[in-house]
């Protein structure tokens, strides 16, 4: 079994802002090279790892490998700074003074500007600037940078991966690196146990910009069951009391009108049987994950959702507990092996 912290660290480092996920796909392929029977990719860049190729029935797992980031919209001629906008739901409040890497002709380090204190008006301490009012400083004049970076290039936060203690990690992109790692763990557990359903681990693209990767992957699969793996809100100060799944409390089993109750119930039974810690997460409508696209794809799928609780979602300091990632991996493996 791959060490969980190392696995998270490695996938986190791969540049994969929505629509440009190839580097992450390569890392995942390398991690699963001895586990998967074969790999497939499609036109949208989804990576599918197949295990138990000839078994029936099949189950498809969906974990998205794209990360939130920024897209270059232009270059300021006077300063050489890059104008940016969000690519996925990047939080503008945390943007000032963030270190980023810009993936142009080569990888350039840069920093999102922060308004100098003397120019910060009376409201500056209370209200953040939207991203299109900020910019990225790569330290290069226009004449140099114009040949290296083009509008449409992506930029991604470079904020470090910290092990806060033996269980908790702090890093950007645990959404959905944690889900990707749980799917990988499931694949490793199934392979080690032998048998079970045909398992298709699909590492999807573009979840953060609308779930187009899940749309095409869910259409293409022959599996009748789909389980999305994503992150959700962990209990934290200032959040509604209904956000009650603490870090370290295990897998979050999703219940929602768009999810099959029979599958959610089965996952809960398995968690009880196997002593896998879990909490229940109830959503009143759709889920905002790859599950939403899977549900209606190609005539419809039996659809479920498992989540990993994280704090500070869509910031450079997402915090997860690796025990929760392991719980999701173990619960998924229990389901795949439960013929």
């Amino acid at each position: 079994m791959t060490n969980m912290q190392e696995l998270l660290r490695r996938i986190t480092a791969a540049p994969s802002v929505s629509g440009t996920e190839n580097a992450a796909a390569e890392v995942i392929k390398d991690v699963l090279k001895d586990t998967a029977d074969r790999f497939e990719t499609d036109a949208l860049g989804n990576l599918k790892a197949v295990i138990n190729e000839n078994a029936e029935p099949g189950v498809m797992l969906l974990a998205h490998m794209d990360k939130i980031g920024y897209i270059v919209t232009g270059i300021d001629k006077e300063t050489g700074f890059l104008r940016i906008d969000k690519c996925g739901g990047s939080d503008a409040r945390v943007a000032p003074a963030l270190r980023v890497n810009v993936y142009g002709k080569k990888t350039l380090p840069g920093v999102i500007i922060s308004t100098p204190p003397h120019l910060a008006g009376p409201d500056a301490a209370k209200k953040a600037q939207p991203l299109d009012k900020l910019g990225v400083d790569c330290g290069l004049p226009y004449d140099e940078i114009k040949d290296l970076v083009f509008p449409g290039d992506r930029a991604m936060v470079d904020a470090g991966f910290y092990e806060l203690n033996e269980n908790r990690v702090c890093s950007p992109f645990l959404d959905d690196v944690a889900g990707v790692a749980a799917a990988i763990r499931c694949a490793e557990l199934v392979k080690a146990a032998g048998g079970g359903r045909r398992l298709e681990c699909v590492f999807t693209t573009r979840e953060e910009v609308g779930g187009q990767g899940s749309t095409t992957a869910s259409f293409a699969t022959k599996a009748g069951t789909a389980i999305a793996i994503d992150v959700s809100f962990a209990k934290a100060p200032g959040l509604p009391e209904t956000v009650d799944s603490a870090l370290g409390s295990g897998a979050m089993i999703g219940y929602a009108p768009v999810l099959h109750k029979s599958l959610s119930d089965r996952l809960r039974e398995l968690a009880e049987e196997k002593n896998i810690p879990y909490t229940v997460e109830v959503m009143g409508r759709s889920t905002g994950t790859d599950a939403d696209e899977a549900l209606t794809a190609a005539g419809g799928k039996v659809t479920g959702l498992l989540s990993i609780p994280i704090r500070n979602m869509h910031t450079p300091v997402e915090i997860a507990d690796v025990r929760d990632v392991e719980a999701v991996g173990a619960l998924l493996a229990a389901y795949v092996l439960d013929e």
């Binding site: 000032p96 600037q129 910019g135």
Partner: protein, 339 residues
């Protein structure tokens, strides 16, 4: 110079906790100097020149950097804090900080998904922020962090062309210049002071200036540069790549006009790039030094620095070299009576 700055920026030392910076400076300058540590922790180094000085000249820079101090641990094991020195809320939110014992924590953020309307850009006050070190509860947190412990921004040294990105450039840049001058030797007897507690009210310099009792003082600083996208030229204060910066007035000092003019004359004679600080903003140790005892003729020279008091401040290596060259020539002019 760049290597010295890198070494010094890597050391953590918020105001009042400058011991490690002082030890680093001491190891960098080596043995054989007349060295004294005053009761506030400032380091006073008297360096013998080739000639005695006609006038007593003191060069100084401050060792401390901005940071945060833990004030209270909540029942959930989260750390309430206040700032040490001026930090804008947006520079703190979603960033990581490192305590003196190496414990890393993240400044937590309410996920933007759970914010509605204007709240999506609303910045919390520092009193409502907290640092998350991954602790399970109060008792677990208190094993690693106690009220009164301080932390500074984490940040990796990054070079962007001629430009340098790091925390603490304010004012390890000034420290680096002085270390280099001490190592290479000086023309006239000179006193170098590495001050404490500048960021919390110019305190270290108040005590050390009394002790040193100089006739002339040259304060070496990092000052805010606003030459960034979207800022009109008149509000830029100073610009990277245009040399060292000299103040005529800031919020702590109205500078001696003769010294200000002399700085430009010396820069001209020696082909050193120098620009005026074109806004009355900020303040520095000159504020306490120029009114020390019966008065000290004082000047401030700076390296222009973008995104000051953040994890990602940026300066230009060429400006640092200009500051180094001008500090030496101006000190010689003052010491020899040519001012």
């Amino acid at each position: 110079m760049k290597e010295l700055l890198k070494t010094l920026c890597a050391v953590d030392g918020a105001s009042g906790r400058e011991t490690r910076v002082r030890e680093t400076v001491l190891s960098l300058i080596g043995d054989g100097h007349d060295v004294k540590v005053d009761p506030l922790g400032s380091l006073i180094v008297s360096v013998k020149g080739k000639k005695p000085a006609k006038h007593k000249v003191m060069l100084c820079a401050h060792m401390d950097e901005v940071g945060v101090i833990a004030t209270f641990i909540t029942g959930a094991g989260l750390i309430k804090f206040t700032t040490v020195g001026g930090i804008q809320p947006a520079a703190l939110l979603g960033k990581t900080v490192r305590f003196e014992n190496g414990v890393v924590g993240a400044v937590g953020v309410k996920p933007v998904h759970l914010c509605a309307g204007d709240e999506r850009l609303a910045l919390p006050e520092v009193k409502d922020m907290y640092i998350d070190i991954g602790a399970e509860d109060k008792a677990d947190a208190e094993k690693r962090v106690r009220p009164g412990d301080v932390a500074v921004f984490t940040s990796d040294w990054t070079e962007m062309g001629d430009k340098i990105l790091s925390k603490a450039i304010d004012d390890r840049a000034g420290c680096a210049v002085m270390v280099d001058m001490i190592r290479k030797g000086v023309e006239y007897d000179t006193t170098f002071v590495f001050n404490t507690m500048e960021e919390v009210g110019l305190r270290g310099s108040k005590a050390s200036a009394f002790t040193v009792d100089p006739e002339y003082a040259i304060v070496l600083e990092g000052t805010t540069a606003a030459d960034v996208i979207g800022v009109p030229e008149a509000e830029r204060v100073c610009a990277l790549g245009k040399g060292a910066v000299v103040n005529f007035m800031d919020r702590s000092t109205l500078y001696d006009k003769t010294l200000y003019d002399k700085a430009f004359a010396v820069a001209n004679e020696n082909g050193i790039a120098l620009q005026p600080k074109t806004m009355v903003a900020g303040g520095n140790d000159a504020g306490s030094i120029h009114v020390s005892r019966g008065g000290v003729k004082t000047i401030t020279l700076n390296v222009p620095t973008r995104y000051i008091h953040s994890p990602s401040s940026v300066c230009d290596g060429n400006d640092l070299n200009a500051l180094r060259a001008l500090a030496e020539k101006l000190a010689e002019a003052f010491a020899s009576g040519d001012a």
